[in-house]
């Protein structure tokens, strides 16, 4: 019998703890498949964040370190400086990366640290129960913005890819989404290019993945996919913001 689909070796057999319909799981699979396809698993060292993906160290089938909230880029810097030949990645949510860890990601990019960041933007703090994130959309309700985000009070959501793309040594920056099959395939391509650019020693690489949080958005999984498409993509345009010659 022909095998049409097989679970990647990049993931362990541990069952994901993610909520039903949460797209964290899809993103894990894409990263793991890319590492397997590029033959990187035995030289990969990943860094898990504080956030819903905190247990990523149980799921990725490679060496892993668990970092303090927002500090994954600093931890990854330490790792990559010790093992320059390894494939290092951080997997971070939007609270982790764009709020508490804003300094760490900007300076890792500025130094051109040769690792790959998978930045999961679900416009909310998932793990702590739906508080406002720097990426929460104007009008979007959160437990700490019960009437919806007010731009006069809380400012406007941060566009991380656009910001980081202004940094010369951030050599690969792309925003993708996983709300349908077509976009999932595109997302995987971007993740692959980011890892390739890292292994070619080009500099800092990041893929921002728009993701859902049905639980804290108060929507069904299907409604969530649609909400992402109709509300997040207009504010967070998909596309490549930076890429070196080699992977274009």
């Amino acid at each position: 019998m022909a095998v049409i689909f097989d679970k990647t070796k990049g993931l362990t057999d541990k069952t994901f703890h993610y909520c039903p319909g949460c797209t964290h799981g899809i993103i894990h699979r894409l990263v793991a498949e890319v590492m397997e396809e590029l033959n990187l698993l035995d030289k990969a060292i990943g860094v898990a964040p504080v956030g819903c993906a905190v247990f990523a160290y149980d799921y990725f089938n490679c060496d892993m370190q668990e970092a303090a909230h927002g500090r994954a880029p600093a931890v990854a810097t330490g790792i990559k400086r010790v093992h320059p030949e390894s494939a290092v990645f951080t997997y971070q949510g939007d609270g982790d990366l764009a709020s508490i860890g804003a300094a760490e990601i900007v300076h890792a990019a500025m130094r051109g640290e040769k690792f790959t960041t998978i930045f999961v933007n679900n416009a909310i703090y998932g793990m702590t129960g739906g508080q406002m994130a720097p990426t929460t959309l104007v009008g979007q309700k959160a437990t700490t913005a019960p009437l919806g985000r007010d731009e006069n009070h809380a400012g406007l959501p941060l566009r991380v890819s656009e910001m980081l793309a202004t940094i010369p040594k951030a050599v690969f920056v792309e925003r993708v989404s996983v709300h349908d099959v077509k976009h999932i395939i595109q997302a995987k391509k971007a993740i692959k290019k980011a890892f390739q650019a890292q292994m070619a020693g080009k500099g800092f690489t990041l893929v921002e993945v728009l993701s859902t949080c049905p639980t804290n958005w108060g929507k069904t999984p299907l409604e969530s996919l649609k909400w992402l498409e109709e509300n997040m993509i207009p504010y967070y345009p998909l596309g490549n913001y930076r890429s070196p010659e080699e992977v274009r």
């Binding site: 370190q65 303090a68 810097t77 330490g78 010790v82 300094a103």
Partner: protein, 355 residues
Amino acid sequence: MAKELWKGNEAIAEAAIKAGCRFFFGYPITPQNEIPEYMSLRMPQVDGCFLQAESEVAAINMVYGAAGAGARVMTSSSSPGISLKQEGITYCAGAELPCVIVNIVRGGPGLGGIQPAQSDYFQATKGGGHGDYRLIVLAPASVQEAVDLVQQAFDMADQYRNPVMVMGDGMIGQMMEPVEFTEVEKRPLPEKTWATTGTKGERQTNVINSLFIDPAECEKHNHRLYEKYKAIENNETRVEKYNLDGAEIVFVAYGTTARIVKNAISALEKEGIKAGMIRPITLWPYPYKAIEEAAGLDSVKAFMAVEMSMGQMVEDVRLAAAGKKPVHFYGRTGGMVPTPKAVVEQAKMILGGVK
């Protein structure tokens, strides 16, 4: 090797290099700047890596990553910067990552000042960061001792898989003294089979982590850590006992203050007063036993802790003396240094009082 004249901070940095430290992450702050400056020049010469981090928070997390990747790694700072590192330090303790942290202490609280102080004692020995954990804390009293202790610190860190802090006051960092770099006694060190190096297809995956979501597991982890701390207490407690024979008053002081106290002891001797000193070299594990024993000596009438603080270590002296003998305190703080004369006067007042 002949003795050479070294500035404390630079000697500390060179000692780390000699101990095989090849990664250093730091951020500028007075009075420890010579450490990162020296490292920035020296690390490339030994194929090591110096990196100026964007903050102390980032620096200690780079240490976490590098230590978890199996490297010998160090960071240094001074009081306000060490406060910022506390998050990373407790994560290193929780994930059992060997690393060395140098604190060249200055006056506080807040921005405080840039002159020598010992007011970070509580922070270093009683937690600092959150959770049940212990740092090994070494307190050199000379540049030579700083050099020796820094080299041993890396071995201690590796042996116990625990962060080690070398705590010197600003004086230790800034003064120049003759130094001889000697080989430290080798300890049998375990291989770092736990490090994240990439599996290279040769082993199971390794995970560096301090999260135990199941409280029973988390408690078990803490118990395991405390067994380790017990072993450290048994094996590593270090103290200098000075002139205790027949002493009427026993000073307890560490670091630069202990040097000042030695001068005071000589001055008292000339006036016919016998004084001795207990100098903790490890602030954790603390040499409670040495003080307890001194408290049992018939000649001893009182203890006097001398610190460059408002009185922090004195609490441990009281714990150890356990009410057997009175414990007094004399301190200067905020960057002020006690004089031998003031120590002598305080001692005479105390002895007058207990006579």
